[in-house]
């Protein structure tokens, strides 16, 4: 497996984890957003991670190795299906006729845990990149 492709692979994983962190951060920031341009409260979002289809370098994938080294990408950012939380607050400018305000179904603790997980995964992928880079540099050492 050539080291430069492995570098690419880890790079794409970093992108995916970063996108995840962005979405989670947006959720956290909008935990109390009752009004959006689309109308209604902010809708919680999450990312869908999907393993890459082995397309390789356009060549025939005849070895198990080539078929097994797969990267990851974010296939979609999907809105959460959970209905908004209703809180009784008649004085709120966005309260409906019954005096209830619709709030995003976002649990800040849950989002924080998600964010920490994204950071940890990001770090691990960074370690993989450092290892790959070191191996490439060592390969050059063959030539003294």
């Amino acid at each position: 497996m050539d080291l430069f492709s492995i570098l690419d692979l880890s790079g794409h994983a970093l992108t995916a984890e970063r996108q995840r962190a962005e979405v989670v951060t947006a959720n956290l920031a909008n935990a109390e957003t009752t009004r959006t341009p689309e109308g209604g409260p902010y809708v919680r979002k999450h990312v869908l991670f999907e393993t890459d289809v082995p397309g390789g370098f356009g060549g025939a994938l005849n070895s198990a190795i080539e078929r097994s080294t797969r990267g990851v990408h974010v296939s979609a950012v999907v809105p959460d299906q959970t209905p908004p939380i209703k809180r009784f607050d008649p004085g709120h400018p966005d309260a409906d006729a019954s005096g209830f305000v619709s709030l995003p179904a976002i649990n800040p603790t849950e989002e924080m845990v998600d964010l920490m997980s994204a950071v940890r995964s990001y770090q691990l992928n960074t370690a993989a990149i450092a290892a790959t880079k070191s191996m490439i540099v060592q390969s050059l050492e063959i030539l003294r």
Binding site: D2, L3, F4, G56, F57, S139, L140, I142, L143
Partner: protein, 99 residues
Amino acid sequence: MSNSIQGLPLTNVDITGVNPAQAAEPSTGFTDLLQKAVQQVDGLQNQAQTKITDVVKGNGGDLHSAMIAVEKADLSFQLMLQVRNKIVAAYQEVSRMNF
């Protein structure tokens, strides 16, 4: 006395003491060896070139394979150089001999 000398079959005697066919062989052997070495160096250098191009173009070539191919080409080149030097030294040695 003159009879005995005239009787000797001189025509088939080799003055240098070495059979002419055999005298030709060592020099052909050396040329052969050097030629093979040059061909090998050429082949290995081409291989190394291809492997490096693969790596640079991103065709999925292994970096370590390319490095090793370069070293093999280099080693075989050094070997060829040494063989050539030995041949030249042997030639000079022989030409220094006084007959």
